[in-house]
């Protein structure tokens, strides 16, 4: 097989974020309407590799994914070695808006999965005017902790092994092995305590149950897509959110799990492309 390059371009961006200098890794591919993609807790922007390689998407969209600080090829901020990483709603929202400003993105479509699916509900509520449309993957208003999160970061449990094993069942049963294990590998590569720190937002700080019904889809269209085999954010939880927001469009994706864009891109694209076409027409 001859060598070939993918159309994805990655660069490091230095910017002031949350009052501190940060070095973030940003990938993009394609041209057109900006589509800003937010990865799940404990993973990184590689989850969107298939979208950035898909001509039907990149022909009309500039697909962008950044690794959050502490994740992927982005650095933690200087001084991290004496801190405990904990993501909050306020930090997460600020980070997304500041990255958008730094990249000079004008009314992008924003699409986030899991914690990204949760924060886009916050964005839909608080900053709808900044976005052309909002897509939440595996988006629920709240998840109760269902295991002791301390196991994700303690010296007698290998962090990479346990993070991969915790989420392995969240991948749908029909996902191709190659994509399933690539998805889990990203989890196994996470830094110590980073997945746990993200889950502080997901399971504690980011609870939006009391406010989610105030989202006004006339200010920004909202689409929710959730995989059938996700027991972290179940289809029922997504349907409950959608049912409380007039105008919200919802799709339950049969056979898929918690990482649709990464675990089974081909199946996911059959659900995503019609949504992007609809956004493009509006």
């Amino acid at each position: 097989m001859s060598a070939s390059f993918e159309p994805i371009v990655g660069r490091y961006m230095n910017l002031q974020l949350l009052g501190r200098p940060h070095r973030l890794y940003v990938e993009e591919a394609g041209q057109g309407v900006p589509l800003l993609c937010l990865h799940t807790a404990g993973s990184d922007g590689r989850q969107y590799r298939a979208l950035m390689n898909h001509k039907d998407i990149t022909a009309r969209h500039r697909v962008i994914a950044f690794d959050m600080p502490w994740h992927g090829k982005s650095s933690p901020p200087s001084g991290w070695h004496d801190e405990e990483y904990q993501l909050t709603s306020q930090q997460y929202t600020t980070m997304i808006l500041e990255v958008m400003q730094a990249l000079e993105l004008d009314k992008p479509i924003v699409m986030g999965c899991s914690i990204g699916g949760r924060i886009v509900l916050h964005l839909a509520l608080e900053h709808p005017e900044r976005f052309r449309a909002i897509i939440g993957l595996q988006a629920g208003a709240h998840v109760d902790p269902y295991y002791d999160l301390n196991f994700l970061h303690r010296s007698d449990v290998h962090g990479g092994e346990v993070c991969g094993a915790i989420v392995s069942g969240l991948v749908g049963p029909d996902a191709p092995d190659k994509e399933r294990w690539e998805t889990l590998w990203h989890y196994m590569q996470g830094g110590p305590g980073v997945f746990k720190g993200d889950l502080y937002f997901y399971k504690l700080d980011g609870d939006i149950r009391g406010r989610v019904a105030q989202i006004d889809t006339t200010r920004c269209p909202l689409f929710l897509l959730s995989g059938e085999y996700d027991y972290s954010c179940t289809p029922e939880e997504t349907l409950a959110v959608a049912g409380s927001i007039p105008g919200c469009e919802v799709t339950i994706m049969k056979g898929l799990g918690h990482f649709p864009m990464s675990e089974d891109p081909q199946a996911f694209l059959t659900h995503l492309l019609p949504v992007l076409e609809k956004i493009g027409r509006s």
Binding site: Y146, Y147, F151, V157, E161, A165, I166, L170
Partner: protein, 121 residues
């Protein structure tokens, strides 16, 4: 059926290799039936059916018989397809020294899935 765990796990060289630093005794409760499963360096050395008078174990996994039956279907339904899904639904109780379970979570998930209908050793 549970006795087949020994044969199925031990025939999987990759699984045994990943469990090579694991030696423990755990309790599997299927409805009212208890099983003690002993693992030595990644190999299942014994599977013993209760009742027991004074069982010793590092951790226990307890669920109703019908929940295990759904978990062991060849093509389990959403929510019955993974140990963590059962725990999330509060039908599987994990108790005891869960450090052993969590430090070897992939091993235990893959071992118990070996009892799924149609899964070859």
């Amino acid at each position: 059926m549970i006795e087949q765990l020994k044969e199925h796990v031990n025939a999987d060289a990759g699984l045994v290799r990943r469990g090579r630093f694991l030696s423990t005794n755990f309790l599997l409760e299927i409805g009212s039936t208890q099983w003690l499963i002993n693992i030595v360096e990644g190999r299942v050395s014994s599977v013993t059916r209760g009742p027991f008078v004074m069982p010793s174990w590092s951790f226990a996994l307890r669920a109703p018989q019908e929940e295990w039956a759904r978990f062991w279907e060849a093509d389990p339904r959403p929510g019955s397809h993974d140990l963590m899904a059962l725990i999330k639904r509060r039908v599987l109780k994990a108790e005891g020294n869960l450090q052993v379970f969590m430090a070897n979570l992939r091993y235990f998930k893959e071992s118990l899935a070996k009892l799924r209908a149609g899964v070859a050793a």
